[in-house]
Amino acid sequence: MRKYILLGLTLITSLSFAQDKEIVLKGKELFGDMTARQIGPALMSGRIIDLEQHPTNDKVIYVGSAGGGVWKSTNGGAAFQPIFDDHVQSIGKVKLDPKDPDNIIWVGTGEIWTRNSVSIGDGLYKSIDGGINWNKVGFENSERISSIEIHPENTNVMYVGVLGALWSDSEERGVFKSEDGGKTWEKVLYIDQTTGCSDVVMDPKDPNTLYASMWEFRRSGWSFNSGGEKSALYKSTDGGKTWNKIHNGFPSGKLGRIAFAVAPSDNQILYSVVESEVKEKSGLYKSTDAGKTWEFKNGDFGLVVRPFYFSRITIDPKDPDVVVKAGLFGSISRDGGATFKGMGNMHADIHDILFDIKNSDRMYVGTDGGLYRTWDGGVTMEIVANLPLSQFYQISVDNEEPYNIYGGLQDNGSWYGPSRSPGGIEARDWNVVGFGDGFRVLRHPSKKILYSEMQGAENVWRYDMERMSTKTIQPLQVKGYDDLRFNWNAPMAVSESQPDRFYMGSQYLHKSEDMGNTWEIISPDLTTNDKSKQQQENSGGISRDNSGAENHCTIFTIVESPLNQNVIWVGTDDGNIQVTKDGGKTWSNTTANIPAEVPDNTWVYHIEASVHGEGTAYAVLEGHTTGDFNTYAYKTTDYGATWTSIVSDDIYGFARSIQEDYVNEDLLFLGTEFGLYITINGGKNWSQFTNNMPPVAVHFIELQKKTNDLVMGTHGRGVIILDDISPLRSLNQEVLAKNVHFFESTPAVMEEASPFGGTATEREFVGPNSNNNVKITYYLKKKHIFGKMLMEIQDLNGNKLIELVPGKSKGINVVTWNGLIRQPKMAKGKSIARGGFTSPRVPAGTYNVVMTKGKETYKSQVTYINDPKSLLTDAERTANHEATVKLYDMSQELAYMVYQIDEILNKAEEAKKSGTSKNVDVVIKDLNDLKKTLVTTTGDNYVDTEEAKLRGNIADLYSKIASGFQAPTASELENLKLLEERFTDAKQKLNLIIQKRVPKLERYMEGKGVPELNYKSYDEFIQE
């Protein structure tokens, strides 16, 4: 009965689809089990914002990262796992409930160390099951949450400090209080739209006493301001109802960011690092009367450097005199703040420090380059080698096999590494090719040369990858032109048609035809050249901060058309999209043709010139540095005369980069602040890709042309690769309407690769390799739940070779086959013949795939080809295959012989129970003597072993030959000959016993009423 109803159900479901309505599948419905792989790297890790430890269990530690989510360790920091991968990855604060710290975790999103390249958050999240599930509980417009404090006795009472918007006015700032565990919130301290809360701290002994540091700040694309009249430190003693400034002893005048901490062991002792407009008054202040008065203690560089980036003070929970201040290198005082010394050697830019609850010599430190730990109070530091939080600004790929990925990292230089490596992609696989902050790294199209750079094109290197020699080649100012203005993340480009050509952009477009030795300026100033946005020496507010990071009115993206080298596109950070059709002689500014929804001067982040038409290009603009988080992506097919929006409401967050498919013009990939989006219909609908792909900021995307791998440079989770996107090319309405559709399978290579693996230690991050086995890819209209669904590989004559387990997801399924068939059936011995675990490889060629689902059968084919890099001849491969088959068959025949021996022995022993017989004893002796030469009959599988017998000898040679590709060596062939002789001899001996002795046994058995011998046939035995 049930089946009929199910059928009815299916019928009704399909009827509702049967109308002419377009099938639009979203997200997981479409992508099925296509899964991204995260390859790191982790050796340079990335920026850490906040650290938190369980209040009673020192094995549990949380890391809140700048762009890579929240990670949890349950083993004292030995290993971390990401626990926030479905949500925004930029973290401001992690806090555990003081009464239920095992289960209740709060995460305030949006990083709070507000450098130019920060990501954004989107609210406050709560987990009630230790981080497995999360719910957003508000503060959607907070952008950055700096603090969460919870009443230790009544955990319904909570305070949240919202730093708020960095690039715009915002009212969702200040101190908020909840008295119902976060369901409703009241704003209890608010200054104005420009002033946020950089810290709320609850007194450790009196939960009604709170301190709040308020900070006036603002960033734009070209400037930063820290400080003003409204920055101040406040105290409340009535649970946030009233607040008073506590500045007695602080400098007067404008203040900037104020770092603040209360000693956990003595609530009268407070420390504060104050940013003052009077330079010599900036420094550490201490109060010993809970904020009534302050005393200036120390103005060391390490304490006052870059307050917007370093404003965390941590105090030893057991000793109020031990104080650590975040900073360029981190400073530690053991005399109550009078003097400081630097912390041990580690990556620069220290953002948070955590003392272990039980042992203050054990500390954790979060830096721009990952998490460090120390066992000796901060003297000796060791990096945690398994946090792949690297923050790429840009990436590119080459055409090697395997291809390499090149890219530059925030504060971590420039690198390249392979897309696959024996044993996985690990630290040793990555090569450093630049200092400072790294941005774009481009490979010369035909030579083993790459270009890399550091911030603001201070250095641009041409690096010879074979000789490891470098030459700095950045364009320099020449007569008749203004000073060059390079962006912090300065653009460069290579040409597909002229391999030695190299472009760079300042406000001008620079072209070199000799790999950067000589430069020619081929444009006028292509920016708006707005002088008001070029005052970087005044940037920083009350503390000057002219790092070059705010350089503006610069070119940001350059691309030469792959179809016509004279068509060059340039996009600028101040909103211009310029194009030349004559190699730079004349330029046309197409900005006015961008639809009006884009505000003037919106940053042109990326232009992609299409392979589908000379005049076709895509432009991605983003206005986040003005507080505009809308998504802007446009397409032109007429050199920018018209630009058409290709985004839909499906997309959440602003976009930075786009990648077109080289085959299907309607297939596009968009990198946004919150992950990867894909359209299969030219932008009418977009789907977020979430299979092992967190909503991390995707700064750049490349499509590798040989493998069709989509390679993403993320700002917080390293390189993420979506292997082989080619199935998405043929998704159309016709395919989506089918119950089952097989995509054409690309022939796979039987790789002759190293079997030896890598060298990573147990706790080092290793990125997974792509699965290079042959892929069987198909689309299922509906998830398969009931009834059998099977898949097998057959040879072209329809003989079954092996069964595979098919994927059953709605959407795209990917099944792989490694080209191996079942291992030989081995003779039963006392111990195991390890060589028998080797599965033989099929020869390269085409094989049938047969999938059955219910009563339907679906067929496809896959092909393996030999490794093109191999030096082997066809004859050598044939010799390998023939020897393999011979030894495989010998193993199985031997298994059958031993089976026969055991069957006869069993019967003989049974017959013996009815009385002794010389004939029976002879059979038993002869068979046991023979068996002892064939298989082990004593010992175990480790060192209490018996010497290998014929079975083990055959298996060893079989495994040696079958697991390699080479023809058997002369020595192996000699050994094979010997084994064949022994095998033939054994066979003859057994036949002799069966012919001469067993009939006598059978006659004896008959007399005793023992059932007759009845062997399985060879085929039955092998197949069982």
């Binding site: 159900l9 290993a79 739940i785 009931f786 092996i802 195991i832 599965s839």
Partner: protein, 250 residues
Amino acid sequence: MKKLTILAIALLFTVGNISAQDVTVDDIIDGYLENTGGKDNWRALKGTKMTAKVNQGGLEIPVEIVVMADGRTYTKISIQGNEIYQGVFDGENLWSTNFQSMKPEKSDQETTDNFKLNLNDFPDSFLDYKDKGYTVELMGTETIDGTETYKVKLVKEPIKVNGEEKEDVTFYYFDTESFVPIAQDTEIKQGPQAGVIQRITQSDYDEVEGLYFPFSISQGIKDGPSAPIKMETIEVNPEVDESVFKYPGE
């Protein structure tokens, strides 16, 4: 008859677009147990014997899994004709064959104690879950393997992990049309993978003497690799050699 009603309800959901909020967690659990054979039939089940060939990239290993209603269980693996027992429980001892010495060895006491907590889970944790003191919660809907599911949280007796007590939580994903579970998630609680979510998926449900079992099961890491097992046979109320369960070391 009840089967019919539940399926008719399921039908209504699809056709009438009744939102997930209208379904209670007990509707889902009852629907699942009824649709797969009925609670009484599940209660009457005395044991199951499953055979499978586990295939790991060409290496094929025959496996036999027996689970009895009283908690006795074994997994038998055949390697080169040798039968190796894993995860055997005789009512008191949990033991396995050591692969090197081929001799039986007991599991550590904590593992055995945790195992005993699951004796009441035959044939299904959800059957009479209230009597077992379990709690369930409908957490909403989620797309699993491209299809809409109800996510149900099941909390069983707390277990011990390296001496520390931990909640025993599993998240089940029930197909919204048929109410059968198609996946379940649990957090790995120890070792270097601690904190990673283990995912088991089930499909190819088929009938064996009136009860529906998944004939295809895959175990792995959420968003990561998994190892599939295809059941060849499932036998209900099997006859088994009683002596196999007994820990032979004593």
